[in-house]
């Protein structure tokens, strides 16, 4: 989405660029007007993006409601689990969960409550959906956050090195290795890691826990260490399958900068090659990568479903899988909304922040 809006903004900002990019700004009152006009333009642009995000969020809400109504099977029958129940009891349960109303009334109720942050009551846990999600959210944020930081740094670092030595044996080995890991199913890699490092084969002892987030009998600093110990394998799995994307984008955007005159200038100044890369080329190449980072952050939350399932991590992904098998409609709907909303919000954030980072775009 952002890539499309960029050229249009570039055109609009062509006049502003000259004042922003260097040289003393022309004195006098005339210097102020383009600046304020561009601020207004940016505000309009940001407002447009936010409005678009709101529309998308609503569309997701509608989808989450109707899509999961298609699941075959009566939720009330699932809840009673084959026990003997009278028709009155069934009717009472239908009323309790609002399933006796016509579909459109259920829908308007659902939307109205969702706006106030109420996603209903989970069928299987008999607890507010929001509470269940709030319970699982920290675990997911911890896992995806840690993995995100590591694979972003790793991807940028390796991508920059790869592009700098474009075509060398190191570059090819680097790209090939990343692509290979990118093609590996994350759940399989997770299972293999569990077998080799948790269960242990042959001479290799099991040094990591097979799953879960903590052993449950520790306090204070020991608890932090325990959680970190549990965190290692899931994070390694996520990083391994995800870092290739950052690497490839960083590599190609640095390749775009490689022929630039300012790098020749920097070298002519007598800067070491390493400094030219770190201080001049990489900061410029970072700009396109920033958009990808936000998108990554949004998709990793949903991408962690499998890793969480394999490592029985008590996060949103595991909860989603559990809820699907019932099917626990309110929980599934709410989680679907959360996963999609994460992507939408991150994309919008990238769109809104990008012009602030790159003065050539917007402003």
């Amino acid at each position: 989405m952002s890539s499309e809006s960029t050229p249009a903004l570039l055109k609009g900002a062509a006049g502003v660029e000259s004042t922003a990019s260097g040289g003393p700004a022309p004195a006098g009152p005339s210097a102020r007007s383009p600046r304020s006009r561009s601020t207004a333009a940016y505000a309009r642009y940001a407002a447009g993006k936010l409005a678009g995000a709101a529309v998308s969020l609503f569309a997701v809400l509608v989808t989450s409601f109707f899509l999961f109504r298609l699941i075959p099977g009566d939720p009330v029958k699932q809840m009673t689990g084959g026990r003997q129940v009278s028709t009155e009891q069934i009717a009472a349960m239908r009323r309790e969960f609002g399933l006796d109303l016509p579909l459109w009334q259920q829908f308007t109720q659902y939307c109205g409550k969702a706006l106030t942050g109420d996603f209903g009551t989970s069928y299987q846990f008999r607890a507010p959906v929001v509470d269940k999600i709030a319970e699982a959210l920290p675990a997911t944020l911890l896992l995806t956050g840690t993995a995100f930081v590591i694979y972003t740094l790793l991807g940028i670092w390796l991508g920059a090195r790869s592009a700098w030595r474009n075509g060398s044996a190191g570059d090819r080995a680097n790209t090939a290795f990343a692509l290979t890991l990118y093609s590996v199913p994350s759940f399989w890699l997770g299972l293999l890691l569990i077998i080799t490092l948790s269960v242990g084969i042959g001479p290799i002892p099991g040094i990591f826990p097979t799953g879960g987030m903590e052993s449950g009998n520790t306090e204070g600093i020991d608890r932090v260490l325990d959680i970190a110990h549990h965190l290692v394998l899931p994070v390694v799995t996520l990083v391994a399958v995800e870092y290739a994307r950052t690497l490839l984008v960083m590599r190609s955007s640095l390749l775009d900068e490689m022929g630039s005159d300012y790098l020749t200038t920097a070298r002519a100044k007598g800067l070491r090659d390493d400094l030219v890369r770190r201080k001049h080329a990489v900061p410029n190449a970072m700009l396109p990568t920033v958009t990808l980072l936000f998108v990554n952050l949004g998709t990793t939350v949903a991408g962690a479903i499998l890793v969480e399932t394999v490592f029985s991590w008590p996060g949103l992904g595991g909860l989603f899988y559990q809820a699907l098998s019932v099917p626990d409609l309110p929980l599934v709907q709410a989680l679907f909304f959360v996963f999609a909303a994460a992507v939408i919000l991150m994309n919008t954030l990238a769109d809104v922040i990008y012009p602030l980072l790159d003065p050539r775009v917007g402003r």
Partner: protein, 324 residues
């Protein structure tokens, strides 16, 4: 993989030149024959450049071998090797001379199951990618060709699909619909098309701004003529590159859905084998030989398609700087 990491050869000089003698307008030669000759030249030129990409060649060779194995699976191992009753071996046997990859919990030979799984993975991958790319191309071309409210609406729908977490949507669809191979294909095809649609639309817009489209329109070419005769041939190379890349995504997604138990449980597939292995307790008992081959096979096939796709992409757009 190691073969792809050797020194890059300098581009063959002939690959740079516009190849072959230019097709001369010989009087009496029909326009159709001319077009055909030109297409043949384009294909030959494409192949000459593709050949310089080592990684692409490796990918192609791997795919050829795997396709051959999939086609000849019934000849290599009998159809009865999938049957749970009267399986030849004991349950969960380690690899041996008789069963090179060991046996599963029913005593079936894992090598035979792997061969059968090849067919499912390739079929689902190819069909789902084909469906996805077909939808994407159709929507991309029409959205680029027709302006106005149609394009606006259709691009909003595309944007909406683009932000949907693909895997979550595919899982939801596979849960909602009945369990079969076709459901898997549909779920993947319906969720992965937006990227293609965006690429194709951008290419369509750039093709339609060229003068020969205006000429064609002035000569009376209708919407369908312009879209099918002028735009489609021009976006086809892009679509081809996109297809190979989508196939690897589709194969990975198929394995994922099967692993989550959302595909037909009666059909042997690589993802299904992994699920079987997990349910049979191969993880806790450390039976790595049961788990390793299916995942490795998925990775190899997905990687082979990715390598081919990247090679095709860089032939079409050399600025990408894909290593050879």
């Amino acid at each position: 993989m190691t073969t792809s990491m050797q020194k890059p050869e300098p581009l063959e000089p002939e690959a740079r030149k516009p190849s072959g003698p230019p097709a001369k307008q010989v009087p009496g030669q029909s326009p159709r024959a001319l077009t055909r000759a030109r297409r043949r030249q384009a294909v030959a030129r494409f192949w000459r450049q593709y050949r310089t990409h080592r990684a692409g060649l490796v990918g192609l060779a791997v795919l050829a071998v795997i396709a051959l194995l999939a086609l000849t699976a019934p000849l290599l191992v009998g159809a009865d090797s999938q049957s749970v009753t009267n399986a030849p071996g004991g349950p969960m046997e380690a690899p041996s001379g008789e069963f090179p990859l060991g046996t599963d919990q029913f005593g079936r030979s894992l090598l035979a199951l792997m061969l059968w799984g090849t067919r499912v993975s390739l079929t689902v991958g190819l069909l789902a990618a084909f469906l996805s790319v077909a939808i994407g191309t159709l929507i991309g071309i029409t959205a680029g060709h027709f302006k106005g409210w149609y394009a606006t609406v259709i691009m909003r729908v595309t944007d909406w699909f683009l932000v949907m977490p693909t895997l979550v949507l595919a899982i939801a669809l596979a849960t909602v619909l009945s369990r079969s191979v076709w459901t898997t294909i549909l779920a993947i095809g319906v969720t992965t098309w937006p990227t293609t649609a965006r690429l194709v639309r951008a290419q369509t817009l750039s093709v339609e701004s060229r003068p020969y489209i205006e000429r064609s329109r002035a000569l009376g070419g209708g919407h369908r003529h312009i879209m099918s005769r002028h735009v489609l041939p021009n976006v086809m190379p892009l679509v081809l590159a996109q297809t190979t890349l989508v196939i690897s995504t589709a194969i990975l997604t198929e394995a994922t859905l099967a692993f989550l138990g959302l595909s037909d449980p009666t059909i042997v597939s690589w993802g299904g084998l992994l699920q079987d292995a997990r349910e049979a307790g191969a993880v806790s008992s450390g039976n790595w030989w049961y788990l390793a081959p299916p995942g490795l096979a998925i990775a190899v096939v997905a990687l082979a398609f990715t390598l081919c796709g990247r090679a095709v992409e860089s032939v079409l757009n050399p600025k990408l700087g894909v290593s050879r």
